[in-house]
């Protein structure tokens, strides 16, 4: 079914006469506005969390799966020869896109966070690292280990799965928690709007009775309330979302050193996602108020 935007727009603009039927209530209006705004604000963060951890999980499972490390721990005099042999072997291994020995500067950069900048690397028996990039088909790790054991005794292949798996599953769990939070926030919004709507319906019982007596259909009476709460919640969510997005924007951006953790904010087209919150908040309010109004009306004759 295609949504009829003209009808939705006409509904939101509303029938001014119908809106006047229900006396305006400043206080509950402000409360609804505030609740919707606060919930939208929280949703922005839950969304940012979900998307960021999603990104993290993807990155870890993707990039790390494509890369493996070969460590050559041989006596200093044999290291260069074994490295050569390993590189030759890797070049002939199906599924390996490229293999490259890290130079001294790169190895130093890797150790720097732990040992400080002035490490005399030459004097230490640091194993040589070879970065292996897989082709999309991947290689047979077990087969490669066997060949290496035969030809390059000092080589140890690390395909990262051992420590990658728990990290990815942690990130996945975190992402799930983010979505659960969003669902809970949505349900809480619905609950709060329902209570506010019910209070408004109770406060206006007399108005509803009069409208019913002069021949108003349920749709008309419910509409006056539903439109009001949908609009308030739409406006509140919009304000909350904008504030939330500004707050996310002001988060310290991820530095190169912390690139491993990725920034918590939105990236690229993900900025579109929070814009979904206001219409969603409006939709939740619409459904909640409609339900409450029709339930109240059914009890009237």
């Amino acid at each position: 079914m295609k949504p009829d935007f003209n009808r939705i727009a006409a509904y939101l603009v509303g029938d001014q006469q119908a809106d006047r039927m229900v006396p305006p209530t400043g206080f509950t209006a402000r409360l609804t506005l505030f609740a919707a705004g606060a919930m939208a604000f929280l949703t922005v963060f839950a969304l940012a969390l979900s998307l960021a951890t999603g990104r993290l999980a993807d990155r870890w499972s993707d990039e790390l799966a494509r890369a493996s490390t070969l460590r050559i721990s041989a006596p200093m005099d044999q290291r260069a020869a074994q490295t050569e042999a390993a590189l030759r072997l890797l070049q002939t291994t199906p599924g390996v896109a490229s293999a490259r020995a890290l130079d001294e500067a790169e190895q130093r950069a890797l150790l720097e966070p732990w040992f400080g900048p002035d490490l005399p690397l030459e004097t230490l028996p640091i194993p040589q690292l070879i970065e292996v990039i897989e082709s999309p088909e991947g290689f047979d790790a077990a087969g490669l280990r066997l060949r290496l054991a035969a030809e390059v005794p000092g080589a140890v292949l690390d395909d990262h799965t051992r420590w990658r798996r728990p990290l990815v599953s942690a990130a996945d769990r975190l992402r799930l928690l983010g979505w659960v939070s969003i669902a809970l926030i949505g349900a809480t919004t619905a609950a709060m709007i329902t209570m506010a709507a019910q209070a408004a319906l109770a406060a206006n019982a007399q108005v509803i009775a009069v409208l019913r007596l002069v021949g108003a259909r349920d749709v008309y009476i419910a509409g006056a309330f539903v439109r009001r709460f949908t609009l308030r919640s739409l406006i509140g969510s919009a304000i909350g979302t904008v504030l939330g997005m500004i707050a996310v924007l002001l988060l310290p951006s991820a530095q190169a050193e912390a690139g491993f953790l990725t920034g918590l904010g939105f990236q690229g087209w993900h900025w579109i996602w929070p814009l979904v919150i206001p219409p969603l908040g409006g939709a939740v309010a619409f459904a909640a108020t409609r339900h409450a109004a029709h339930r109240t009306l059914r009890e009237l004759t």
Binding site: P23, V210, L213, V214, G215, R217, D218, Y220, T301
Partner: protein
Amino acid sequence: MIELEKVAMSYGGGELLGDISLTLSPGSFHFLTGPSGAGKTTFLKLCYGALTPTAGDVRLFGTDLRAMSRDDVAMARRRIGVVHQDVQFLDHLPVADNVALPLTVSGHDRLQETENLTELLNWVGLSKRADALPAELSGGERQRAALARAVIMSPEVILADEPTGNIDWEMSQRLLQLLVELNRMGKTIMIATHDMNLIRAAKSQVQARVLRISQRRLQAAGVDL
């Protein structure tokens, strides 16, 4: 138009009305009398579908009330004008809007009906009070506004519950005059009242039937008045 067949109405065990059969035919004029608490208001509520009888059948414009949806009842009410005992206005809206309420809720364009509304307010003598709030009106003005609201949709039936309940004799007569005029235009009228003078005044102008609720039954009163 409105038919009641062997209708009974009980509240919490006690029977208020029982074995009531009545057919309101087009153009008829009825008075409904009886002591306070006899069930006049309940009887009228049965007639416009605000209550469902505990036994028997009510038919509004040929349809059984029990078979009608909530929307059907709303539609039937647009054909029945009701003057409530406690008038029932929206207190935050001016008189003109309250009188036009049935038009508004049935989706009529108020602007197209402006002339109608002005004429109607003139007829009930409220044109100068159009912008007043209901709370600012006197008892008689409220009753006349309620009558105006009851007839604005040009209903086929008008039910009035104690329309002269708290107004003076002169005003009562004016109100009765309006109802008699409506009856001459072909509307079916039913007035619940315990004001015998009002009934006598009406009898000199229209052929009115008087019904009395007595001991839970509806009886034709009449000649002795």
